[in-house]
């Protein structure tokens, strides 16, 4: 059983937080992902760029173990992930959808919902921490009373990020989080993410899928390119 609580610390060079080794996925004859190898270390901010349909979302979904893998391995801190550990793994490596799916109700109810899951049962909803994060994006406590149906696209994305961050994942897999947002909301989302990552820099990392090169330059320390299911280093 892999250790999901704390990333390794100590003398020897620690294994990457997350590693993919020769991942491949097919759908019938169609190759969706092939030979995908990737290492994510703490402090990494990896931008994944590529054309629409090149497999960027599929890559993130594979990294979150959300889709079946046909061949290859997915390693969390050097250990392979097995079925029963999947929920725990996804609590550490969290995938955020481009269009956030939020339950009906107020923002506070949306944020409280994951604590009903078995995995997060021993954690508690921290209102003060949420309010502190809301201040970063220029919103007050009253935002918690907003209803899901009244949220703008940018607000929904912020709520989805807050929902994920309060569960303290080590790796954020961000699937075009600002694709549908205006410049102001984009800046708010970017600063929210950057603040989250730098709170515990030795334990956190992010993979951004984006088709905005300017954004990739702003947020990323490494670039990767996706082309027809093949991932390569560089721009």
């Amino acid at each position: 059983m892999a250790d999901f609580t704390e990333p390794h610390r100590g003398a020897s060079p620690s294994p990457p937080l997350l590693a993919a080794v020769e991942l491949a996925r097919r759908d019938g004859d169609q190759v969706l992902l092939t030979g995908v190898s990737l290492e994510i270390h703490a402090r990494d901010r990896v931008a994944v760029v590529g054309a629409t349909g090149s497999g960027k979302s599929l890559l993130l979904r594979a990294l979150a173990f959300l889709d079946p893998i046909d061949s290859g391995k997915l390693l969390w801190q050097g250990r392979e992930i097995h079925g029963p550990e999947a929920p725990r793994f996804r609590g550490c490596v969290m995938y955020l959808h481009q269009r956030p799916a939020l339950i009906e109700g107020s923002v506070e109810e949306i944020l409280r919902q994951p604590f009903g899951l078995r995995l997060h049962r021993d954690k508690v909803f921290d209102r003060a921490a949420i309010i502190a994060r809301l201040a970063l994006v220029g919103r007050g406590e009253s935002f918690l009373e907003s209803q899901q149906r009244d949220l703008s696209g940018g607000e929904a994305q912020i709520v989805a990020l807050l929902r994920a961050m309060q569960l303290a994942p080590h790796v954020l897999l961000l699937d075009e989080p600002t694709a549908a947002l205006d410049a102001q909301s984009t800046a708010a989302v970017e600063s929210l993410i950057e603040t989250y990552l730098s709170e515990q820099p030795t334990q956190r990392a992010a993979v951004w899928v984006t088709h905005d090169r300017a954004q990739a330059q702003r947020v990323a320390s490494r670039w990767m390119q996706m082309r027809a299911g093949v991932l390569s280093e560089g721009s």
Partner: protein
Amino acid sequence: MNYVELTYTQVALAALLIVINGAISVALRLGLERSLLWASMRTVVQLLLVGLVLEWVFRLDRWYVVLSLATLMTLIAGVTAASRNERRYPGMWLNTVISIWASAWLVTAFALFVVLQGIEKWYQPQYAIPLLGMVLGNTLNGVSVGLSTFTESLVTRREQVETQLALGATRWEAAREPAQHAVRTGMIPIINSMLVVGVVSLPGMMTGQLISGMDPIEAVKYQIVIMFLIASATALGTVVIVMLSFLRLFNKDHQFAPRQLTP
């Protein structure tokens, strides 16, 4: 038993009523004449055939004949439950057959062995066949409604389900709401009919027993047993089909595979 035996001429008189449907169809240009004719003919042919088969089965009075007929009825019910569904996944037919088989046979067996203790043999066709038939017909509805509600709501709530998995939900936590919704929806019709039975509707079996001259209280006792049989078999069948579909659509790696669901 005292009742008027119908001649074929009398049955033909009732067939005149279908002419009303035909007239409505023509008057309102519904274009249903052909379907009506086909449906009426099938009603006549299927029921006459069933009459012949039942006469034969009743006369032979052998357990293996009764079981064979019961198996055939169950298979047809299972296949029908699957064919009404708009979305399919590999192995769906097998799952509907299993869920109807397990629930209807279990409940009918309980009726034959435990409730109806006075009958001579457990397989007495006079009891076994009509009881199973009524249980099957209703279980079929529950299974069919439960299956289509479950698959539809998984498709419409796909992003919700996947988001829950991404947040660390187990496959069961992610599927629980659609599953509960499906079982509830599958059981609504039988609960409704238990609410109004006797007040709004007189069930077919009770009507039959009354016409054949049975004492109303006796007929009512049978009907109460039937309602409970139907209700429990429907509940069981609906739960089983939802669970089997869940196991097919969510794998052990806590992954949801909606691609398996094809329209």
